[in-house]
């Protein structure tokens, strides 16, 4: 039997091997793809949860690839931060996979094996980026996640191709910046292992080369996460992507990029360097403030439901980046908690969008008319996600926003606090407008009032994950105290 020391690598290896099996066997019989995808991601989820428990009990885990000691070989490091993110990533991917059955058969009937192979490889890439303790290995997995992502988006309808091409150009620049940054670090330190670099760096803090490396790596992460004003690629790419693609990438891509930013800041460059040596933390909180306000305002202007959600992602990225750069324990706690919460909330909204596309063949706001009567359970689950985006207790969104606001007050960055409150207000306006459309407006003008509408719920494979996700949002809210004390407080760097 496989010993517990192997659990960390299993999180990545199970989906990796399965992806190639799906490609081979799915080419012979495409009915094989869906169950194999669920098995792969289910196995990975089990390994991730087991690893999380190990970390909670015994602390940080190191795993040596090929048995080589770091810094000569590649190592996996699972600490309190990425143990949590790993579970979130694979949970989101698993739920998105369950919900993908109907929409993939409907939108991509000829490309099912390719879709699921890329889907599982994308998840592998995201997991690999999260778990690794090697700065170059992170880049390789970033390539996997990015390439699969471009292809999955380009599989959508006509406009998806152009949106994906824009994303290819900008995303490649992001990855290229990150790689150049790693190259600078290698020239200066001779190492690629994150912990090793962190050890060597302090006597090089004054040099220009390290400054350039820091700028490049952070820019790379920001481009990848669509941090305002580098967000141009995101709205179209996520709007025109196939439904099953956007349920996977919209919740995860930006969140994993935020995780990478945190990893680069605290585990490669060092908290002392980014907060004390670099004089930029206030500037970045201002940028984050601009991201929140601009994202919210753009979202207000949209008539397309999916596009509105994509602009909300831009605003949420501002929450997390701002939270980290507040440089207070509360702010960083809030940002990390928000990675978890926002991934699940965004998944809820995009699963709902997939159902809307399936049922009404469109994703305009007008497609939502009369849905409360037709799909009461779906709408109830969506309402949980929406309330969490607004930040209503006891949903998860409230707690991370609370920490962020406390962090903003601690740091005396009042503009950030105001932006958070403004964004909550905008979210309230947006989602109550949707409730109004879905509750009061009849499906079309021809129907008279009082006419009874037959209940027409979403298919079970889409409804079940949505309901599970909605329940998870409430559970995350109720147990947020435990999450913070067991994991996140250990992930916040000491002495800031």
């Amino acid at each position: 039997m496989i010993s517990p020391e192997q659990y960390p690598v299993l999180i990545v290896v199970i989906p990796l091997l399965s992806a190639f099996l799906i490609s081979i066997l799915g080419g012979m019989d495409k009915r094989f793809c869906y169950p194999a995808t669920l098995l792969a991601l289910g196995g990975s989820l089990a390994a991730a949860v087991a690893t999380l428990c190990l970390v909670a009990d015994h602390g940080i885990i190191h795993y040596r690839m090929g048995g080589w000691a770091p810094p000569f070989g590649i190592e996996y490091v699972v600490d309190y931060l990425n143990a949590l993110v790993l579970v979130v990533v694979v949970f989101v991917a698993f739920m998105a996979a369950i919900a993908s059955k109907v929409s993939v058969e409907e939108e991509l009937p000829h490309k099912i094996p390719q879709f699921y192979t890329l889907f599982v490889l994308l998840t592998t890439g995201l997991l690999g980026m999260t778990i690794t303790g090697d700065a170059f290995n992170l880049y390789v997995l970033m390539e996997i996640a990015a390439l699969t992502n471009y292809a999955l988006i380009a599989m959508g309808r006509k406009r998806a191709l152009m949106a994906s091409f824009n994303y290819v150009v900008i995303g490649t620049m992001g990855a290229c910046f990150y790689l150049l940054g790693v190259g600078h670090l290698y020239i200066m330190t001779g190492s690629l292992n994150m912990a090793d670099i962190l050890n060597i760096l302090p006597h090089l803090y004054g040099t220009n080369a390290i400054l350039v490396a820091a700028i490049l790596m952070l820019m790379g992460a920001w481009i990848k996460m669509a941090f305002f004003p580098m967000h141009g690629w995101l709205p179209n790419a996520y709007t025109y992507a196939p439904s099953a693609t956007s349920s996977l990438v919209a919740p995860l891509m930006t969140k994993v990029s935020v995780y990478i930013m945190i990893r680069v800041m605290f585990s490669v460059l060092g908290a002392v360097y980014v907060f004390k040596v670099l004089p930029v933390k206030e500037l970045i909180v201002w940028l984050a403030t601009a991201a929140i306000i601009a994202g919210s305002l753009f979202a207000l202007a949209q008539k397309d439901f999916k596009k509105m959600l994509t602009y909300l992602i831009v605003a949420e990225v501002g929450y997390m980046v701002g939270g980290v750069w507040l440089a207070t324990a509360q702010g960083i706690t809030g940002a990390i908690l928000h990675i978890v919460n926002d991934a699940v909330m965004t998944l809820c909204l995009f699963l709902f969008a997939a159902i809307v596309v399936h049922k009404t063949k469109g994703h305009q706001l007008s497609n939502l008319q009369g849905l409360f009567k037709k799909m009461p359970i779906t709408m109830a689950a969506f309402a949980v996600g929406a309330l969490s985006m607004i930040g209503v207790p006891p949903t998860a969104g409230f707690f991370s926003k609370w920490y962020l606001i406390l962090g903003g007050i601690d740091a005396g960055q009042w503009q950030f606090v105001v932006a958070l409150l403004f964004s909550s207000l905008v979210n309230a306006v947006l989602f109550f407008r949707i409730f109004e459309i879905a509750y009061y407006e009849p499906e079309s003008a021809q129907h008279g009032h009082g006419e009874s509408v037959a209940i027409d719920e979403a298919p079970l494979s889409m409804l079940l994950p949505l309901v599970v996700v909605a329940i998870t949002i409430i559970l995350l809210g109720l147990y947020s105290g435990e999450i913070v004390t067991t994991f996140i407080q250990h992930a916040v760097p000491a002495g800031i």
């Binding site: 496989i2 190639f20 090929g66 290995n137 200066m188 350039v212």
Partner: protein, 340 residues
């Protein structure tokens, strides 16, 4: 290191780079870009990175130029002039590029000199690799042992990147499994005038040697520059050569696209499967030394060498099939017909 020579290569490289982005004729741009890749290849040889130079020659100057040409053939040869002048975009772009350029140049002041034996890169990890490679892995080519063993986990994912690239092309362009309703004759007429007997005869003579050399590169990667990536690209190029001198159908009789897809998955599966086998036998993932218990007459050290050969074969299989798949789809616009 001869600085005059390096300077000349670098200057030519910059000229080629500028030419390839400013040429309005995309066909010429692709060819100039190939020349640029070749100059980079020379530069890397000069730096002593022969394995990298080999890959650059095969991929950058070789097949990727063919891919560009095939793409140009199906889209447009001349850059369409924009009607609206986008002065603002150009200015912002110029400012951003200049800013990043200044940043990068400012950092070089802190770098150790070229070939400085006391630089961190030469003193931190390299001594271990140089002294321990043969005792620990039994492989004379240090590049291979770093690539396929010490950092073999990266290489596995690099192979997966190649696989994903091919799959992405198939998923965007590929039409197999779909009815060819919108079948249109390919842009070049189907007349035999394009089929030159001289080219075909040359190709017939050339291909066996190419493939033999490719297999040598794969198998001899432990002892000399080369390995799975380079060998796989050359193997793939031999198929592409057949497709160019005859047509796609003739090539597909040798290697069908469907079968190539199968091989490409199989190659990465061999790599990750060897890793998983080590894991199932109780060692860490990709720890080849445990394989000595199932390989006859090997020590744990030679098992590492054999494990590397195994994964290199997987790499070569994937790279070869993906090169073919990309060419077939780009050259035939996804229709897998006669092609260019």
């Amino acid at each position: 290191m001869i600085w005059q020579f390096d300077f000349l290569i670098l200057a030519l490289g910059v000229i080629c780079a500028l030419a390839s982005i400013s040429l309005k004729d995309l066909l010429s741009a692709a060819i100039v870009f190939g020349a640029y890749s070749f100059l980079m290849c020379l530069l890397w040889t000069e730096m002593g990175a022969v394995d990298v130079a080999f890959t650059e020659a095969a991929v950058g100057a070789g097949v990727s130029t063919v891919f560009f040409l095939a793409a140009v053939f199906h889209t447009s040869r001349i850059v369409q002039p924009r009607r609206r002048g986008r002065m603002l975009h150009k200015l912002v772009g110029l400012a951003a590029a200049t800013g990043i350029g200044i940043l990068l140049i400012s950092a070089t002041a802190d770098f150790p000199n070229w070939a400085n034996p006391n630089s961190p890169a030469s003193t931190h990890l390299s001594p271990f690799y140089i002294t321990e490679t043969i005792p620990l892995t039994g492989v004379p080519n240090i590049v291979t042992s770093v690539l396929a063993d010490f950092r073999g986990f990266d290489t596995m994912f690099e192979t997966a990147v190649i696989f994903v690239a091919g799959l992405a092309v198939v998923s965007i362009l590929g039409r197999y499994g779909r009815r060819l309703r919108d079948y249109e004759p390919s842009p070049v007429g189907e007349d035999v005038a394009h089929q030159s007997p001289i080219i075909q005869a040359a190709c017939r003579i050339f291909v066996p040697f190419m493939q033999l050399f490719a297999l040598y590169v794969v198998a001899h990667g432990h002892h000399s520059p080369g390995g799975g990536f380079q060998g796989g690209v050359i193997l793939g190029a031999s198929f592409i050569l057949v497709a160019i001198s005859y047509d796609l159908r003739v090539m597909q009789r040798r290697l069908q696209e469907r079968r190539a897809m199968l091989f490409s998955s199989l190659g990465v599966l061999i790599y990750s499967g060897i890793g998983a086998l080590c894991l199932l036998m109780g060692a860490n993932f990709l720890d080849y030394s445990i394989l000595h218990t199932i390989l006859p007459a090997t020590s744990p050290i030679m098992a590492r060498s054999h494990g590397m050969l195994g994964v290199e074969v997987g790499v070569a299989l994937t790279v070869m099939s993906i090169m073919v798949i990309i060419y077939v789809n780009v050259a035939s616009y996804g229709k897998s017909d006669r092609g260019l």
